[in-house]
């Protein structure tokens, strides 16, 4: 298995390289540059700026410069946040996004799986319908509708929590954004878990387990749960990456200084280095989380061996 892990980690390198190259070209092909604004910068100032950021070089040379810095762990200087390097910005934003997105994912998995099990075992009962209603609300209502509703109820009508903002991981600022991200993810996880468990519960080996006289609790816990979790686990990778690195709506609505805000501002300001730095981060995280998911498969499904 370790050989497999090592191989997968090695593959990360060409993956990141390919993604960075494509993004690099796309970014530079996008109309508008980092220094465009209503007040057109004079040619003299523009020349100074381009020299400062190496933008006056041929594109291939700029690209090699960038790769060289990247190999040395330097993501470059940000155009938009002139006092900070991209490394600084990521170092500050990543823990914030991890705290919000990571907590939300953990809660969503526990809640989603539990609700999915309850709904599946009581298929077509009132409990099932209630759970599914809740689940559908979560997936039908986008975060830009749910967010304002949460704020309206818990920050304005009932002035219990702040409507947004951030203060060094103070819990009161984290409750509503975590709740929002949880609501969105729990419905997805719950629905998948329900469907998958219903399918597993009708398979032959479960009938065998029942025939042995095992109580339902044991049938579910010992035999059905692991195979039923497979589809849930396969969506966890992308869901987690999304919740952590690109919770754009949630972070903007609650004014959270996380990665999502950086991505939005970086893209709209044509902050090439910032966007590329975040792309590298998202790529690495995606590859790593997919690896974790694949390893989890092997644990869940005895048929899979690496």
């Amino acid at each position: 298995m370790w050989a497999y892990v090592f191989r997968r980690l090695l593959v990360t390198i060409p993956t990141v390289l390919a993604v960075v190259t494509i993004c690099y070209l796309l970014l530079h092909a996008t109309p508008g540059g980092p220094f465009d604004s209503e007040r057109k910068v004079s040619d003299a100032v523009l020349a100074n700026l381009q020299a400062k950021y190496h933008l006056d070089m041929p594109l291939w040379k700029q690209y090699l410069y960038y790769l060289n810095d990247l190999v040395h762990g330097d993501l470059g200087a940000s155009f938009r946040y002139a006092d900070w390097s991209v490394n600084d910005l990521v170092k500050r934003a990543l823990p914030v996004s991890l705290a919000i997105g990571g907590t939300a994912m953990v809660i969503a998995v526990v809640l989603g799986v539990a609700l999915g099990i309850v709904a599946a075992l009581r298929q077509n009962s009132a409990v099932d319908y209630l759970v599914m209603l809740f689940g559908n609300i979560g997936s039908v209502l986008p975060s830009f509708v749910l967010g304002p509703v949460l704020v309206l109820v818990f920050a304005i009508t009932l002035p219990w929590l702040p409507s947004g903002g951030w203060d060094d991981f103070a819990p009161r600022y984290m409750v509503l954004p975590i709740a929002l991200l949880t609501l969105i993810n729990v419905s997805t996880i719950g629905r998948i878990m329900r469907g998958s468990l219903i399918e597993v519960m009708s398979s032959n080996f479960i009938r065998t387990a029942r025939a042995k006289g095992l109580p339902t609790r044991l049938v579910v816990m010992r035999h059905a749960l692991r195979p039923a979790l497979l589809p849930v686990v396969s969506v966890l990778g992308p869901l987690a990456v999304g919740s952590i690195t690109s919770a754009i709506v949630t972070e903007s609505w609650f004014s959270i200084p996380g990665l999502g805000r950086l991505i939005v501002n970086g893209a709209s300001d044509r902050d090439y280095t910032l966007v590329l730095g975040l792309v590298v981060l998202v790529t690495v995280m995606t590859v790593l989380l997919n690896l974790v998911v694949d390893l989890a498969y092997a644990w869940l499904d005895p048929k899979i061996r690496y």
Binding site: E38, V45, L49, D168, P257
Partner: protein
């Protein structure tokens, strides 16, 4: 999922920054200095009177709250806290609290003494500023004339590559220094002694006292910059000379300032702690205000003005700012080359309806190339501004007929995506359709894409807005001058250009005004663009915040918290 955010973003860039502003590449803050005020200050100084130290002016007997703290939303994360680098209005507000230049601007928009306690013009292009002895840095070192020389040179150094270095045009040799053609030492600023700074301007710059109030013209602490390098603006490293010091900086979240006890006018500074938030989304801003998390909004989200005005009559504050909204016209375009067509298109747009019903947020109708409060020239107003609409439409149709433009002709109008811009675009198209029978194709672009198109001349009609730094007429004229970087209309009137050049080089104020007035009149009659509205900045500010006056450049020093 992303549309509301991108809309919010868009709003942040187009409305909030624009309306006030000098958006990203702006050199300085917008100023509302009136001619009268400047004259008064000048008179005082000429008479040898000491200009008054100005700070939070609290009416006698006003009960103040025990806790003097304020949370204000700044609308966006500052681009930099380094005076030499900063360009956006959001940054300038914070930098203006941390640093103080030779002069400053109070909350009425008046130029007041800053580090300089007095100044005079010794000849038309030479100004001498006398620095106060009590001005010190937050580390206790005195602020000297050399700190200004160092700061200004660093600002215009090609190696610094400051976007706002375009201000160099006003300082002797400034342009050549920025271009690297002359050494930094040739910049027209020198320290005569520790307390005396001499500034030589390139041509007549009658508004230099307002110009040096901007954040970018602050002194800079050489020792700290050389010690910490790029990190000198971080909390703990930053040495400042203004009313506040930097306490905390959480990127994309907040910046906390605390009162600087060593500031020369600390006795008149009320707020002990000011927190700047950087919430971009207008609706999130409003919710933070309503839930009591902030005392001071950046700007109302579009479409909320009348409802919020009714709901918070004591808290809604609005005022025109030094900026204008207009439709840029590509004067190179075969159709728009004809001044009759440009005039006709401008005449039929009912700015009163646009201001009162469409944008409906207190913007002011505009009938000329300059906004109210402009100085340095007599304003030129379109003669048809007061005509009834029927007469305007009849005249416009006649002009179009003369120019051979038939009803049904298509126009292309480019704007950047936002609800606000969309409303204005649809209104414009509808005016041209119903009154002139012209068809308008509306094209919406992402902001930077639109900028690229307009800067590159790849457009016919384009939505635009612009904020000015100073009230002097030379700034709005930059938008319509032949070789100006800011002339997106691509119009060129050599005669007017000659008058402007003569005017700016003239050392006689009366002659300067006469020449610039003449140029403004010529350009107004040439209809290079369609001016629509003077921008305003509606926002909610809690009733207990005292000292609020102008919407634009307000130092935290001028605020106080009433007992509540």
């Amino acid at each position: 999922m992303q549309s509301p955010v991108s809309r919010g973003q868009e709003h942040a860039y187009t409305e909030a920054q624009l309306a006030t502003r000098r958006a990203k590449s702006s050199n300085m803050n917008m100023r509302l200095t009136s001619a009268i005020v400047r004259t008064v200050v000048a008179t005082l100084l000429a008479a040898g009177a000491l200009a008054p130290a100005c700070a939070a002016i609290i009416p006698p007997g006003t009960p103040l709250a025990a806790k003097q703290e304020m949370v204000r939303n700044n609308g966006a994360e500052p681009d930099s806290l380094d005076p030499a680098i900063t360009t956006s209005l959001n940054s300038a507000l914070i930098v203006g609290d941390l640093f103080e230049g030779l002069t400053a601007e109070d909350h009425h928009g008046n130029v007041v003494p800053g580090v300089a306690e007095s100044w005079k013009r010794t000849d038309p292009t030479t100004w001498v500023f006398k620095l106060r002895k009590t001005a010190v840095w937050s580390n206790g070192q005195p602020v000297t004339a050399d700190d200004f020389v160092y700061g200004w040179r660093r600002h215009m150094d090609p190696k610094t590559a400051s976007i706002s270095a375009s201000v160099a045009v006003y300082i002797l040799n400034g342009q050549d220094v920025v271009k690297g053609r002359k050494p930094l030492t040739d910049l027209g600023v020198r320290a005569i002694d520790r307390q005396t700074l001499e500034v030589k301007t390139a041509g007549l710059v009658p508004f230099l006292d307002a110009l040096v109030a901007s954040a970018q013209m602050s002194p800079e602490p050489r020792a700290a910059i050389e010690k910490f390098g790029k990190d000198w603006t971080k909390p703990g490293n930053l040495v400042s000379n203004g009313a506040y010091v930097l306490k905390d900086w959480q990127v994309n979240s907040k910046i906390v300032l605390e009162k600087n006890p060593r500031y020369w006018d600390a006795a008149n500074v009320q707020l002990t702690r000011v927190t700047f938030l950087c919430v971009e989304d207008g609706n999130a801003d409003l919710k933070l205000y309503q839930s009591g998390e902030e005392d001071y909004m950046q700007q109302l989200p579009p479409g909320t003005y009348s409802a919020l005005k009714a709901r918070y009559p004591d808290e809604l504050r609005n005022g025109p700012v030094l900026g204008m909204r207009f439709s840029a016209l590509n004067n190179d375009d075969p159709l728009l080359k004809d001044v009759r067509v440009r005039k006709a298109l401008s005449m039929v747009i009912d700015r009163e309806v646009l201001a009162s019903k469409i944008t409906a947020d207190g913007q002011v109708p505009l009938y000329g190339l300059t906004i109210a409060s402009v100085t340095g020239a007599k304003p030129a107003r379109y003669d048809w501004a007061d005509w009834p609409m029927d007469k305007r439409v009849a005249e416009a149709r006649k002009l179009l007929a003369e120019a051979g433009v038939k009803p049904g002709t298509h126009l292309k109008y480019a704007y950047n995506t936002s609800d606000y811009n969309k409303k204005m675009a649809i209104f414009t198209a509808s005016e041209w359709k119903t009154k002139l029978g012209l068809e308008t194709d509306l094209d919406s672009f992402e902001f930077k894409v639109l900028l690229g198109k307009i800067h590159g001349g790849d457009f016919q009609v384009g939505r635009f807005a612009f904020g000015f730094d100073v009230t002097d007429v030379t700034e709005p004229l930059e938008l319509v001058q032949c070789e100006s970087d800011l002339n997106y209309n691509r119009n060129c009137d050599r005669k007017a250009d000659g008058l402007i050049t003569q005017g700016t080089l003239s050392t006689d104020p009366a002659q300067r005004e006469a020449l610039l007035t003449q140029a403004l009149k010529l350009l107004t009659d040439d209809y290079p663009m369609i001016p629509l509205l003077q921008a305003s900045m509606p926002r909610l500010v809690k009733a207990w915040i005292g000292g609020y006056d102008q919407a634009i450049f307000t130092r935290s020093k001028d605020f106080f918290v009433l007992q509540h």
